[in-house]
């Protein structure tokens, strides 16, 4: 069963093209991270799924239901933390939660919901005095009402402190274990890599990659940075290392050499450094971070 399906989805605002023909299928039960820099089109995509925006061309569907014509049936099955929301300040947390419960015809207990998101004790406080993070937690609690089959979370970690962000990830995992599909957007990779089965990277209205985190790491060629400490200055060996296929960014600081190379080239590089009799005292390597990868996919397009 496909939870979300986008088919050549296009959206244009005047002469600004926001989405350039997105194709995407998110399977039921999956935790899918929707990544991209600000302005890439993440919220536009989500707004089309929620029928806040109408596509210029193409289709969006949720559980096989058309996002633009079967909105009510879709909204019965989803929980949403929308972007750019506003909560009426004169209403209490209880009023907001009761609205969610009544709208869904559910029977969740507002106090228990607040407990889940770590907001216990503010049930009858007006949300006008809430911080951004508290509002975000309340909205997450509202999204959980009625055990939705699909959670759509637009930048859910915005304004959350580290505890709140951790709790958000725990809730995403719990909901996924229950069998729910989770689709959430973020411009920060670190927030999604811990919980996502797959990620899609959106840049300038186009999906530039859809893969698992491991798959993305492989795709980047597992370029590593290696720092080698020798017992003496490498001198002439530096040129030899720099000439090796795949080795780049060679730099020396006294007896310490740093360089970038693919995994399979590491031993060749070490051999070259030891060629004139130097002894290797220490080696440090660091894998290419996903942030580097993210930047590689999206950087040139900003």
């Amino acid at each position: 069963m496909t939870a979300i399906e986008l088919d050549s989805l296009r959206k244009r605002f005047g002469d600004v093209v926001a989405l350039r023909g997105l194709d995407l299928a998110v399977e039921s039960g999956e935790v899918f991270g929707f990544l991209g820099p600000n302005g890439a089109g993440k919220s536009t995509t989500i707004d089309v799924l929620l029928d806040f925006l109408r596509p210029t061309a193409g289709n969006a569907s949720v559980f096989g239901l058309d996002a633009q014509t079967e909105t009510k049936r879709i909204r019965r099955r989803i929980g949403v933390l929308p972007d750019g929301y506003h909560l009426d300040g004169h209403l209490t947390a209880r009023h907001h939660l009761e609205f969610a419960v009544d709208s869904k015809g559910a029977d969740d207990d507002p106090a228990a919901l607040l407990d889940r998101v770590g907001l216990d004790g503010v049930l009858d406080r007006r949300v006008g005095g809430f911080s951004k993070g508290m509002a975000q937690r309340l909205l997450l609690a509202m999204a959980l009402v009625g055990d939705p089959d699909l959670l759509i979370l637009d930048e859910p970690s915005t304004g959350l402190d580290p505890n709140g962000a951790r709790r958000m990830r725990e809730i995403v995992r719990t909901e996924a274990d229950r069998g729910a599909t989770v689709f959430f957007s973020s411009h920060i990779l670190g927030q999604v890599e811990a919980v996502c089965d797959r990620v899609g990277i959106l840049a300038d209205g186009e999906l530039v990659a859809v893969d698992t985190i491991d798959g993305l790491q492989d795709a980047v060629g597992s370029e590593a940075t290696m720092t080698v400490t020798l017992d003496r200055s490498p001198d002439g060996a530096l040129d030899a290392v720099g000439d090796l296929d795949g080795v780049s960014n060679v730099a020396a600081d006294g007896a310490t050499v740093s360089l970038s190379c693919p995994d399979r080239r590491k031993m060749d590089a070490l051999d070259a450094l030891r060629a004139d009799g130097a002894t290797v005292l220490d080696i440090e390597t660091s894998d290419a971070s996903l942030d580097d990868l993210f930047a590689a996919y999206t950087g040139g397009r900003e």
Binding site: D47, L50, D51, F52, L53, R54, T71, K72, R73, R75, R76, I78, V80, P82, D83, G84, Y85, H86, L87, D88, H90, L91, H95, H96, F99, A100, D102, S103, K104, L139, M142, A143
Partner: protein, 262 residues
């Protein structure tokens, strides 16, 4: 019945925001004052209230309704409401119903206050006519709520809703009766028209909701001679006009709201 959830939220909103008490105080004081000044043996209380209702009720209905949809569209409140199983249409209808309930309650409170004050000062007023004016007052209030919510759903910002809403009020208050004259002036080649006033001018006058309200009251209560026997001077035409003002702007608002990006 999903619109009932939205209607309930809208109906309770003035109470939850505490603005209800301000509205209530204004209605009770104003209508109570009318009950106070009615002299024994003079005009009946119902007749004294007609003017207040015609002038004041549409204004409050507009205030209660003009921001309803446009504001939550502008600030993002609508994104929360529409994340739940409500269609856009249900949101507009629920909003209109909820705010109409508020206005019906306020008008009712005003009439109760007026009747109570009058009863204490000059004895129990004539209740039959009072009930008819009350019912027509509620209809006027509800119909302008429909107009205001319709406008609010049709535009993107509260500013536009305010300009359109209060522009409409000014139109009803004074400009309406000038319009036919202007049209006739233009049709006559930009010179003052001569001859008898055509019938459509009178019909047009009756399309103004405050006129329609007064026509309906005159037909159903005073029993006095109508200025003409024509269909547009009957009470039922007045009621029909008010129902039209309730429905048509709301339909236009819903159609526009339904089609646009939020």
């Amino acid at each position: 019945m999903s619109w009932t959830v939205v209607a309930e939220r809208n109906a309770l909103d003035p109470y939850r925001s505490r603005s209800l008490w301000v509205y209530l105080a204004v209605f009770v004081v104003l209508f109570g004052l009318a009950g106070y000044v009615v002299a024994p043996g003079g005009q009946p209380l119902a007749a004294a209230l007609v003017g207040i209702v015609a002038f004041f009720v549409p204004l409050v209905s507009l205030v209660v309704g003009y921001q309803s949809v446009a504001q939550s569209r502008q600030n993002g409140g609508l994104r929360v409401v529409l994340s739940y199983p409500h269609t856009r249409r249900e949101v507009v209808v629920g909003t209109a119903v909820g705010r109409a309930i508020v206005m019906a309650g306020l008008v009712t409170a005003g009439f109760l206050a007026a009747a109570l004050v009058a009863a204490l000062r000059t004895g129990v007023p004539e209740l039959g006519s009072l009930a008819v004016v009350w019912a027509l007052g509620v209809l006027l209030a509800v119909s302008i709520v429909g107009l205001a919510v319709g406008i609010s759903a049709a535009v993107r910002t509260t500013n536009r809703a305010a300009v359109l809403g209060f522009g409409t009020y000014l139109l009803f208050l004074g400009l309406w009766s000038q319009l036919p004259g202007i049209v006739r002036y233009v049709l006559n080649g930009f010179s003052p028209p001569r001859g008898p006033i055509p019938e459509w001018v009178a019909v047009f006058g009756q399309l103004n909701p405050t006129n329609a309200f007064q026509t309906a009251v005159r037909g159903l209560v005073s029993g006095g001679p109508a200025p003409t026997e024509a269909f547009y001077a009957t009470a039922w035409f007045g009621v029909l006009v008010l129902v039209a003002w309730l429905c048509l702007p709301l339909v236009v608002g819903i159609l526009r709201f339904d089609r646009s990006d939020l």
